[in-house]
Amino acid sequence: MLRLAIAAALALACGAPAFAQAPAGKVTIVTSFAKDVTDPYKKAFEKAFPGVSLEVQNRNTNAAVKFIEETRSANATDLMWASAPDAFEVLKAKGLLMKYQLKITGLPEKVGSYPINDPTGAYFGFAASGYGMMWNERYARANKLPEPKEWSDLAQPVFFDHVAIAAPSRSGTTHLTIETILQGEGWDKGWRAIKEIGGNLRQVTDRSFDVPEQVNSGQVGVGIVIDFFAFSSQAAGFPVKFVYPSVTTIVPANIGIVANPPNRAGAEAFVEFLLSPTGQEVLLEPSIRRLPVNPATYAKAPADYPNPFKDARFAKMISFSAEKSETRNDAVDTLFDQTITFQLAGLKAATKAIHEATAALAKKDNAQARALLAEARDAIAATPVTEAQAASAEVRGAFTGAKEKTARQAELEQRWAGFAKQQYATALSKAEAALKLAR
C-alpha cells in the first residue's frame, strides 16, 4: 500500500514536467456524466493547470458517440468521458480514438478481475463501480419488504412488482451485469435467473438513471443499480440503502482521447490529471462517490467506503471474458428486450400465477401440482437460442447486416418474441392448473 502510494507520488512528480508542450487554452470534453461529477473536476483541473479551461458538453452516451462520429471531418472534441465500455469499443472500432501511452505508472492493471485499461491504449479506466441493489426504506417499510442480500432474493414472491432495472440495450453498464450473470452461471441457468427476477419487475427503464430516480421517488421498491447512484442519493439525503451481493460486477468508468484532438496537450494533461492522486481524490466527493483505481487514494476515504482492492466480494467476481461478451453483444440485448422488456405483461402474469401456486403448495402439498409448477418454471426459463447459436455467424449477420443472406434482424426478433409469448402462456396455464390442484 505504502509502496504504491510512493510510486504514485513519484509518477506525478516525474509526470508533470514531462509534457512536451504545456497545456493551454480550451479543452473540450464530451461526457455523459452529470454536473455533480463534472463540476468538481472542472474546478480541480483548472486549478492545477492555470490558463486551461475545461469546456464540458453533456450528452447522453448514445448522442455523444453519434456526435463524435458525425463531426469527425472537422473534429472539435478533445475527450470522451463516460462509463459504458461498449461506447468506447464502438468509437475505437471506427478509429475515432487516439492511441496514447500513459505517463503515469504504478497503477494496478486490474480492479477485481476486470482489466482497467484498454490493452491497445485507446481508453483508460479512471474509476470503478460495483453493481448492487438499492432500496427505498420508506417504501420497504410500507410494503413490508425484507432487505435483499443476493440477486436471487429479488426473485422471491415478496418482491413481485417491486423491482426495476435498466434495459441492457439502453445501458452499457446493465449489459455488463447481465453478461456477468450469464458468464458466471452459464447460459441456461443464467437466463433462468434473469427471467425469475424479470417476472418480478415493475419496470424496465430506458435510461440507467431512471432506476435510482424511481427508487428515490418511492415509485419502485428496489433497483438494480451501480453503487455511485445509491451513494450519491444517500449524500443528497434520500432514504435509500444499498448492498453489494456476494458476487458483484465491476464496471469501470473511462476516458479516451478523440482522434485528431484540437488541443492534444490539453487532452493528455486531463487524462494524466484524472489518474493522478489529486484527480483520484476528487472521486471521493459525496456527490460523485466512485471507487478510485489508485489503491492509495482509499487511505483518504471515509471509514465505510468500499475498497475493491481489499473487499473479498469484488475479487470473487468470476473472470470476465470480454471476447465472449463481444461476440454475442447484440443477441443478448435483443433476447432481453424481446423476451422480457416487450413481453413483461405475459411474463409477469405467469410469474404471479407461479407465486400463488407456490404459496398454496406450501400449505397443502401435492406431487402432481409440484411437477406442473416445475414445468411452468422450465417454460419460462427456456431460451429460443442456445449459447452457440447466439454467437453464431448467422445470428451475428442478422444484426450487422452480413453480405451473405441470413435471417433479417426483424425476423429473428419476431421469432424470439413469438417463442417467449408462447412459453409464457404455457407457463401461465400450467401454474393455474397447479394452483387448482393445490387448493
Partner: protein, 573 residues
C-alpha cells in the same frame, strides 16, 4: 353563411406580377423545406429503404414491419391513444374555450393563459413531478390508500398515457378553438337569435360549426402530436407504441438499423394523412364571415347560479391540468420528497444553486424560441395563404412537407442536421452545423406545424369578399393582403406564435445533439444536465419552474396583444 367565394376568383383577377410573386414565394418556401426538413431527414431516413449490410434498395423492411407483432400492436395502440386523447382533450378544452369567449367572465385572460401552461412541460422534471402526484406511490394514491385502502392507477398502461397526454396537449384545442370563436362575427349569432335560436341550440348549430376550422386545427394537432410523442409513453413505461419503438430502435440499435426508420416513415405518412383528413373535413364548407367590426361573439352575462357553477368547473379543470406544474413547484422547493404525500421540508437552496447559470440559459432560450416562433409564423402564414388563396400547382405539398416535420423524431432530425450541415464550411473552416442558428432552425422546423395550423384556421375564417372589396377600391393585391388579411389574421397568427414559442422553449431531443458549447445551451439542456444525478433533482426542478414562468410571461404578453387587437377592432370589452 356568407357567399361562397372560391380562390379562383381572386387569382383570376390577380395580375401577372402577383402570380410571379406567388410562384417566387412558393419556390422559396419549397427550398426552405427541402433544405431544412427534407434533406436532413432524408440523409438519415433513406436507410428504411435499404437492405442492411449491402445497402441495396428494398421494400422488404416494410414487409417485416407488417409481420412483426410488436410493431402492429404498437400501431394500433398509438391510433387508439391518439383518438381517445382527442376526445378527452375536447372534454377539458371545450368548457374553458366557450366560457371564456362566450360569457362575461372575470379572469378570462388569466384562464386563457393558464390554460396553455400545460404545453410547457420541461423535460424530465415534468415527468418526475407527475409521478410524485399521480404515480403508484404519488400524493393522491398515498392519501387514498391511507384513508380508503384503494389506489387509482392514473399512470398505468394505455389509459395512463391517455390521461397524461390529455392534460398535456389539450391547449392545442383550447388555443385554436378560442382564436376561432373570437373570429366569428356577432351578426351570425344575432341572425340566429332573431330567428328564435338560443342557448345550447345556438351553440351547437351556429357557434361551434363556425368555429370548426380552429377545432379541426387543434384536434388534428393533438392527434398527431400524441401519435408522435415518445416522452409520455416512456415516462409511463409503455413501450408498445410507435413513437417510443422508433426512438428506442434508433438510439439503441444504431443508425444502420432500417426498422427504426421504417417506423419513422410510417409515422410521417400517418401524420400527414391525418392532417389531410382534417383539411378534408373543413373543405366542403365555408367558414368565413364577411362582416367585421362587431368584434366577435356577444358575451352574455351569467345568472348567479350559473356563475358559481362555471367558476367551480373552471377551477376544477385548471387544478387538474396545472397539477403537474404545482408538483414541479413543490419539487423545486423540496429538500427530500420520497414516498410521502408532500416533501419533508422546504428550501430555496435549489434556486440559489441555479441562479448564477440560469441567466445564460434563459437568454438563449428566449432567443431560440422567439426566433423559431417568428420563422414559424412567417413560413406558416405564407403556406396557409398559398394553399387557401392561390392556385399555385403543388401548393398542398408545401402544407404536407411542413406537417411531416411533426412526425420526424427529434433525434433523427438532430443527426440529420449534423450529417447535412457539418461538412458545409463557412469561410474560416467553421462547420455550418456548429452555429447556434442551426439550433433555431431545427427548433423552428419541429414547431412549424403548430403555427401553420393556427394561420390556416385563421385564414379560413376570413371571407375573400373583404379582399375583393379592397381591390375594387383600388388597393393592389399586395396592399390588400397587408392591410386587410394580415390584420384580420392577427389572433390566429399570435396563437400560432404562442404555441410554437412555448413548445420550442422546452425542446430537447434535437437540441441535445446540436448544442456545441455551454454558452449556446438553452434551459432544457440545463435541466437535462442537472437531472442526471440525485442531488440535481431540485435544481432541475427550479430551472423547470424558471422555464415555465418565462414562457408564461411571454405568452401573457401575446394574449394581452390579442385582447388589445380585439378592442381596437371595436369590441366593447
Amino acid at each position: 353563411m356568407s357567399a361562397v367565394v372560391g380562390p379562383e376568383k381572386i387569382s383570376a383577377r390577380g395580375s401577372a406580377g402577383l402570380r410571379a410573386g406567388e410562384a417566387a414565394l412558393g419556390l422559396s418556401i419549397a427550398a426552405f423545406l427541402l433544405v431544412f426538413v427534407m434533406w436532413p431527414a432524408a440523409s438519415v431516413v433513406y436507410v428504411a429503404f435499404t437492405e442492411k449490410g449491402t445497402g441495396a434498395f428494398t421494400l422488404v423492411n416494410f414487409h417485416d414491419f407488417a409481420r412483426t407483432d410488436l410493431f402492429v400492436r404498437s400501431l394500433w395502440n398509438s391510433l387508439y391513444v391518439g383518438a381517445m386523447t382527442v376526445l378527452w382533450a375536447c372534454v377539458i378544452a371545450l368548457p374553458l374555450a366557450v366560457l371564456t369567449t362566450r360569457f362575461e367572465f372575470r379572469g378570462a385572460l388569466l384562464i386563457q393563459t393558464l390554460g396553455f401552461v400545460p404545453l410547457i412541460m420541461p423535460p424530465f422534471v415534468g415527468a418526475v413531478a407527475l409521478q410524485m402526484l399521480f404515480g403508484r406511490n404519488g400524493t393522491i394514491n398515498l392519501l387514498l390508500s391511507d384513508w380508503l385502502d384503494v389506489k387509482i392507477p392514473f399512470m398505468e398502461g394505455l389509459n395512463g398515457v391517455i390521461f397524461v397526454e390529455s392534460l398535456h396537449y389539450f391547449p392545442f384545442i383550447l388555443i385554436n378553438l378560442s382564436a376561432s370563436l373570437r373570429n366569428i362575427d356577432r351578426s351570425m349569432e344575432e341572425a340566429a337569435q332573431n330567428l328564435g335560436s338560443s342557448g345550447f341550440r345556438l351553440l351547437r348549430r351556429i357557434v361551434l360549426p363556425l368555429a370548426m376550422p380552429g377545432f379541426a386545427a387543434g384536434a388534428s394537432l393533438v392527434f398527431v402530436k400524441v401519435f408522435d410523442d415518445l416522452a409520455t409513453p416512456l415516462l409511463l413505461n409503455v413501450k408498445d407504441m410507435l413513437a417510443p419503438q422508433a426512438y428506442l430502435r434508433v438510439t439503441s440499435i444504431g443508425v444502420a438499423d432500417p426498422m427504426g426508420y421504417v417506423i419513422a416513415v410510417v409515422l410521417v405518412a400517418l401524420s400527414v394523412g391525418c392532417m389531410a383528413l382534417a383539411a378534408l373535413v373543413t373543405r366542403g364548407a365555408d367558414f368565413a364571415t364577411a362582416q367585421r367590426g362587431g368584434g366577435g361573439l356577444a358575451r352574455r352575462k351569467m345568472r348567479r347560479l350559473e356563475t358559481v357553477m362555471a367558476y367551480a368547473l373552471v377551477t376544477f379543470i385548471l387544478l387538474l391540468v396545472l397539477s403537474p406544474h404545482i408538483g414541479l413547484l413543490l419539487l423545486s422547493f423540496a429538500t427530500i420528497w420520497s414516498f410521502s404525500p408532500l416533501p419533508d421540508a422546504y428550501t430555496t437552496a435549489h434556486y440559489a444553486r441555479v441562479f448564477s447559470q440560469s441567466a445564460l440559459y434563459v437568454k438563449n432560450t428566449i432567443l431560440y424560441a422567439s426566433l423559431g416562433g417568428l420563422i414559424d409564423i412567417v413560413v406558416g402564414t405564407a403556406i396557409a395563404w398559398l394553399v387557401l388563396r392561390t392556385k399555385l400547382p403543388f401548393r398542398h405539398w408545401l402544407d404536407r412537407g411542413a406537417t411531416a416535420a411533426l412526425a420526424i423524431p427529434g433525434v433523427v432530425l438532430g443527426i440529420g442536421y449534423l450529417r447535412a450541415f457539418y461538412d458545409v464550411r463557412l469561410p474560416g473552416g467553421v462547420p455550418l452545423a456548429t452555429l447556434w442558428i442551426m439550433i433555431v432552425l431545427a427548433v423552428a422546423v419541429r414547431r412549424l406545424p403548430y403555427a401553420l395550423r393556427a394561420s390556416y384556421a385563421a385564414l379560413q375564417q376570413i371571407s375573400t369578399s373583404l379582399e375583393e372589396a379592397a381591390e375594387n377600391l383600388g388597393a393592389t393585391p399586395g396592399r390588400a393582403l397587408r392591410r386587410i388579411v394580415l390584420p384580420l389574421m392577427t389572433g390566429g397568427i399570435l396563437a400560432g406564435f404562442v404555441t410554437s414559442f412555448a413548445t420550442a422553449a422546452v425542446e430537447l431531443s434535437a437540441t441535445l445533439l446540436l448544442v456545441q458549447s455551454n454558452s449556446d445551451a438553452p434551459l432544457a439542456y440545463g435541466i437535462y444536465v442537472f437531472m442526471q444525478s440525485p442531488a440535481g433533482r431540485g435544481a432541475g426542478a427550479a430551472l423547470g419552474v424558471i422555464a415555465v414562468v418565462i414562457v408564461c410571461a411571454c405568452a401573457l404578453g401575446a394574449q394581452f396583444a390579442i385582447e388589445r387587437s380585439q378592442t381596437v377592432k371595436g369590441d366593447p370589452h
